[in-house]
Symmetry: C2
Subunit: 434 residues, 2 copies
């Protein structure tokens, strides 16, 4: 058989997966602290639902895996968790709002494979539906801050507001139906630089003067340090209603952030646009400080209209949220050194019976009852067992021969220092739990 790994998919061995589970567990814990509850949606979905106009959009649809089941139904593998949330809301009228949910699960996109971009990957989403106020966006910043503090990563957040961005365009005469097109180019500034974006915008038929004016506002704002000063400047320069509403929302947002006592830097960046069509208000991207990883490690924003449009509903579903990138967070932790990650070793101790297997089984049970992860060297002699423990990075070996059983004192060997001590089971438990 020709064993091989499918391009764009990855399989994770314990060394990596233990850290990935630590990341997911940490995120979940923080999500719960902030009142977000778990849901689980299905991976298989009807094609017509996934491809409806207000689901993921035509760009994503090009990368969607399609299949038929034996009932000849047209299906897809979900490509994101957001439209699944919208569907869940539509099918469950009993949901009470505000509805704060998280979902962590696999999504699939049959697109180009680059570094850090897989075709099958895990999304970690938190969203809140039912609150219009900016306070929930500030709360998300507090959540981001707490999550990355626990993960030991230093971050900063770039923030913008879609209404401000479109308001800047409007101020200089760009027509409303061109806003998204303009924003899509602006979003590439990190990738292709200012010149590249300018060129693309001119090719798209935008007027050079207008492009210059937009860049002028953006650059002048970027030069100001304090966010409230930036807001003051923008208020002076922009007079249309759309821009003013965006500015007002940002002011509210930064005020609430102050009250949340968030220690991380949150920076107003008026060029931040984010590709997706459905953002409507405040948007944010989280980046690492002091790292070679330049891509964002979490991102999101307000998407007020999507659920209403998707469901064709008369009801209003204001919504905002963000997604954490599991793979890039793993890379960030790896960059700092996996040794720093505070996860318990599996196992913490390897019991090595010397012709005493039967009698060591109850000792294993005792240790496990006390919450100590342990394994037994079932089929290895002492030297091989010690070698295995070394290579598998098991911190302790517990060596048990007949004499030890008789005396009820067992040899605990610290595999790092080589130190050996004869100890009672109680002392061993105490030591391993500390």
């Amino acid at each position: 058989m020709n064993l091989r790994q499918l391009k764009g998919t990855k399989e994770f061995l314990p060394k990596e997966q233990i850290v990935r589970e630590y990341i997911v567990d940490t995120l979940k814990e923080v999500f719960k602290l902030y009142g977000y509850k778990p849901i689980e949606t299905s991976i298989l979905e009807f094609y017509d639902i996934a491809s409806s106009k207000y689901a993921g959009g035509s760009e994503i649809l090009k990368e969607t895996y399609t299949l038929k089941d034996q009932g000849n139904r047209d299906l897809v593998l979900r490509y994101e968790l957001t439209f699944k949330l919208a569907k869940l809301v539509g099918l469950n009228p009993d949901i009470r709002f505000p509805f704060k949910r998280y979902e962590i699960g696999k999504v699939f996109r049959d697109g180009p494979v680059k570094t850090g971009r897989l075709r099958e990957f895990t999304q970690c989403d938190v969203d809140i539906i039912g609150v219009k106020s900016e306070v929930v966006n500030s709360e998300l910043m507090s959540l981001v801050s707490e999550a990355f503090k626990r993960l030991g990563l230093k971050i900063y957040v770039e923030v913008n507001n879609r209404k401000l961005l479109f308001g800047i365009m409007k101020e200089f005469g760009i027509e409303e139906d061109k806003f998204v097109d303009f924003a899509l180019s602006l979003d590439k500034i990190e990738k292709i630089g200012k010149k590249g974006v300018e060129e693309e915008l001119l090719n798209k038929g935008f007027n050079k003067k207008v492009v210059d004016k937009v860049f002028g506002i953006v650059e002048s704002t970027d030069k100001i340090k304090d966010n409230f000063e930036k807001i003051k400047f923008l208020k002076e320069k922009l007079s249309n209603e759309l821009a003013s509403e965006g500015i007002r929302e940002l002011e509210e947002f930064f005020n609430y952030c102050k009250n949340f006592n968030i220690q991380d830097e949150i920076i107003l960046s008026p060029n931040l646009s984010r590709g997706l069509g459905y953002y409507t208000g405040t948007i944010f991207e989280v980046f690492l400080k002091d790292s070679n990883i330049k891509s964002s490690i979490a991102a999101g924003g307000r998407w007020d209209n999507m659920i209403q449009k998707f469901l064709g509903s008369k009801l209003d579903y204001p919504a905002t949220g963000l997604a954490f990138g599991l793979d890039v967070i793993y890379e960030a932790i790896k960059e700092k050194g996996l040794g720093d990650v505070k996860v318990k070793k599996i196992p913490q101790v390897l019991i090595v019976p010397i012709k005493t297997l039967n009698k060591t089984l109850s000792i294993a049970s005792e240790l496990r009852k006390e919450g100590i992860s342990c394994d037994i060297a079932f089929n290895k002699k002492l030297s091989k067992a010690l070698n295995y423990a070394n290579k598998e990075d098991i911190p302790y070996c517990l060596i048990i021969g007949d004499e030890e059983i008789e005396k009820k004192e067992y040899k605990l060997k610290n595999m790092r220092t080589g130190e050996e001590n004869l100890m009672s089971l109680q002392s061993i438990i105490k030591k391993l739990k500390s």
Copy 2:
């Protein structure tokens, strides 16, 4: 749009998903205590690998979802985790044995949808590769016992040995190439009864006398209570080598179980056969005591030859393990009452600001820092907030008006009893953490 849920798939709202995550977390914790480490394999797989002779087998292949990607590759959605483990072993020659791994993930089978059988469902597998001794099967029983104790479910385990089962057939002249066929019928005894199985076996061309003799041995063994007495009886009745080896393994298994101090009932059931072709030795199925749920809630066994055959390797890969059924475990816990489940409420407290939103944000931060899940009634008046808390089963409301801010004493309302107390933040934290 025609919103609807795809047959055979399910989406889980928080009420259910919180309990499902509790089950998964409990299982993971126990797996780790026993030295099992996590891996994650991909859902997308090449068709030729998934359909190779020694992967899941032809029965499963009939139910496999197939698809093509944009590179015109023939793919499947994985239908189980076992062949993915075998593949992982084949692609990673650096893995050290014994290799104890767990994997929890979605699998897909396009088969008939019955109660409790979905087309997209979660498997929770633990397996150990590299140990021939029966001690690892007994250790799995200890793991099962600990897992269900933590989940609050009373269980018993039916155990058999494939060699004993085939040995019984051999003893009465059934030919080796008919063993699996015979076992497949025997496995249906719960579903179609003894008469149904007999009929099926006669239809398959088995001799009535032989069928009677097999049933005779099985029934006589079932009547004996003590497992070691059963083994003694089987030793007397069976003389062929295959049966003797099965009996010897079972004796070893039950001896080790004794040494593991397992409190749950483990019962030797010589008719237990389990459908899958690849089991080679001891097999087990876990059932609930005192429950209306009659299907097994975990099951597994020894599968020594599969990896070797799958990889076409000269090396030996003795393996054994078991799978937990997340959906049926959920049903069992629900049957007992979801109220008994020891999961922390999300959120534990709802902060209700009365025109004090800005000032309550830092209080929310304080509570969260202390590990207390809390939410803020962003856009609700007092009566609506209390109503929301009641319906969402939030245990406490923390009501904060201007006066409370000034005095630094806040009103904590117990939503179950209606009791209200003015308390300092420190006392509130102390109370909610207790």
